[in-house]
């Protein structure tokens, strides 16, 4: 488990694109950790000038690197604060997604029969589920805070990992080392979680990266549609505020940075995922 995880970084580090994206990702991670400490203002703090007037829609300057919003908030500070929710929501969702997906895939693939049919029908149902509409409906009914957002995204996103893992398990379970484990007295549980699971970890890691990318974008979309956690400033909600204020034209510095931040973060995640997948999935490697 840990081994596969460390292996992930060493594999990603090997390629040029992987190296750059790993560095970019690490920077984003440190922003998420340190951002709030480094931010000159609070996320919803209103900034007043010496004369006591609200600094509305001020263009970027030395005092406000990325200008201010309609309500006089410092965009640079908001950007720093916004990294943390984007990454926590993203990582937790990705982790939960993969935990569910891997387990469903392992059980369906190994146990087969009725369990497999049931779990695969369930996966089909979720695969046909319109992603964003479902999450919006769910959030509107359960209330909007980051936990329900994470749960709602997890509820839908496990489907693709489950499918991939199941297909892999179907071939793994016929391998001879499974029979070997059985002859030493391994129970079904042992075989699933101690023999097969380590072999699907690479797929789980690819799943985590793609789920992370999706989750970050989806979280932003949820924020943009106005269903985000009202108490949390995230990159998505900054864009939403800018859009809702109808002041985009007067303050491009307000709209552009959060979008670029999302783009850079997600791009780095995608490239890490691909760098890793190219190595662990030989079919694709052949292509490269």
């Amino acid at each position: 488990m840990l081994r596969t995880f460390l292996n992930f970084f060493s594999i990603v580090w090997r390629s040029y694109a992987g190296k750059i994206s790993l560095i970019v990702f690490t920077i984003c991670m440190s922003l998420a950790v340190l951002g709030p400490i480094a931010a000159p203002y609070g996320p919803t703090e209103r900034v007043y000038d010496a004369a006591g007037n609200l600094v509305r829609l001020a263009p970027p300057s030395w005092d406000h690197w990325l200008g201010t919003t309609l309500l006089g908030r410092d965009v640079w500070s908001q950007m720093l604060w916004g990294a943390r929710p984007a990454l926590t929501i993203g990582l937790l969702t990705a982790l939960g997604t993969v935990v569910i997906g891997v387990n469903v895939g392992l059980l369906a693939g190994y146990l087969g029969g009725a369990v497999d049919s049931f779990l695969m029908r369930l996966t089909d149902i979720f695969l046909g589920l319109p992603f964003l509409p479902f999450i919006i409906v769910l959030l509107s009914l359960t209330g909007q805070n980051i936990w329900t957002i994470i749960l709602a995204m997890m509820a839908v996103m496990w489907r693709s990992t489950a499918r991939i893992v199941r297909a892999e398990v179907l071939s793994l379970r016929e391998r001879q080392f499974i029979a070997a484990a059985r002859t030493t007295g391994a129970s079904d549980f042992d075989i699933i979680y101690r023999e097969i699971a380590p072999n699907v970890m690479p797929f789980a890691l690819v799943g985590i990266t793609f789920a992370l990318a999706w989750a970050i974008i989806t979280e932003a979309s949820i924020g943009f549609l106005g269903f985000g956690d009202p108490n949390v400033v995230s990159w998505g909600s900054i864009i939403y505020d800018a859009y809702a204020s109808q002041m985009m034209y007067r303050a491009p510095w307000w709209v552009v940075p959060p979008g670029i931040a999302i783009m850079i973060l997600v791009t780095s995640v995608y490239f890490m995922g691909r760098a890793y997948e190219e190595v662990v999935n030989p079919r694709i490697k052949q292509a490269g």
Partner: protein, 335 residues
């Protein structure tokens, strides 16, 4: 008696199931193992020899409890183990271990050698501490002549050579201190240079620890070096069995004779041709009537096509042929 197999059979039925409810297909019965009897004492090596597809691996899988027999009895130390496998699987697996043909496929690629060798102890829930586990693993690796064992503990299977991998497989089998080991073609996928050392290793372990070993091969050349007894299989049945020497010197079944004729040199370096008999081995789903060997038998007589031969024996030497131990025929053939 360590192992006593009586009239064991395994029949697979294909094309059964849902579609068959409507009579859409007629199920095919594959008689992979079709009435096999074997006996084995502790410290003895029984060679199981036969062409590809004759049911050797199926028999092996039944013996180690990977599959249940369709019929027949399996006595282990005098107790019927068919029940044991169902109700007390863990304990049964502790006594009987298997070494597989493919030393790469039978090692989990994601596990280190230490994990591979300690896993059996963990699965058996023996309650050993981490240090004890490690000690046992090192002992087992030493026994399998992986020395110095410590150097290999953190390696992965793909970092080892084929022979080293097979030693790890043997160590994994040894770590539970079994009474019986079933080795299914353990050297057929190895480099020529190491085949012999693996054979010698197996032989030494069996003698030192009084373990019973069933040594499966389709290749007679390695047999004299390791086996005490021999059973020749053809299409799911043992057609001739007895002491190794007896069979090599006085094979009486035409199939055995053909196998021996095709392997003049008891040296595994020499690649062996197909047995010197015409035709291919029939399908296990379509076994000939009478003597199952008759379509290919050089000595076949009219009665062979209709009457199933009974077992004949001379001492411990047994054979299933109408004319087994028949001096006249032996003579005419030699002439």
């Amino acid at each position: 008696m360590l192992l006593d197999v009586q009239d064991l059979a395994k029949h697979y039925v294909l094309g059964e199931g849902f579609s068959n409810l409507f009579g859409l297909s007629n199920p095919q019965k594959i008689r992979a193992v079709d009435g096999v009897s074997l006996r084995l004492q502790p410290g003895e090596v029984l060679g199981l020899v036969g062409e590809s597809g004759c049911g050797k691996s199926t028999l092996a899988r039944i013996l180690v409890g990977l599959e249940l027999p369709s019929s027949g009895a399996l006595l282990f130390n005098g107790n019927d183990i068919a029940e044991d496998i169902k109700s007390n699987r863990k304990q049964f697996h502790q006594k009987v271990q298997m070494v597989f043909q493919d030393p790469y496929g039978s090692l989990n690629p994601q596990h280190t050698i230490e994990e591979i060798v300690t896993r059996p102890l963990i699965y058996q829930q023996l309650g050993l501490s981490k240090a004890e586990l490690k000690d046992r693993a090192i002992d087992a690796l030493n026994d399998a002549e992986m020395m110095p064992a410590k150097r290999y503990l953190n390696k992965f299977p793909h970092e080892l050579s084929g022979g080293q991998r097979q030693r790890v497989c043997i160590a994994r089998a040894l770590v539970l201190q079994p009474e019986l080991i079933v080795a299914d073609e353990p050297i057929s996928m190895l480099d020529v240079s190491i085949k012999w050392s693996i054979v010698r290793l197996l032989k030494r372990l069996v003698k030192e620890r009084n373990i019973g070993l069933i040594y499966i091969t389709h290749d007679l050349s390695s047999v004299p070096a390791i086996c005490d007894k021999l059973a020749i299989m053809y299409l799911g049945r043992v057609v001739e069995s007895g002491l190794c020497d007896d069979i090599f010197k006085q094979a009486t079944h035409p199939y055995t004779q053909a196998l021996l004729a095709a392997s003049p040199n008891p040296n595994p370096d020499v690649k062996r041709g197909r047995p010197n008999i015409s035709g291919a081995i029939p399908n296990a789903s379509n076994i000939p009537t009478g003597c199952r060997f008759h379509p290919r038998c050089p000595n076949a007589q009219p009665q062979c096509a209709t009457e199933q031969p009974a077992e004949r024996h001379r001492g411990y030497h047994r054979a299933e042929c109408h004319f087994a131990f028949d001096v006249k025929i032996e003579r005419t053939k030699r002439a």
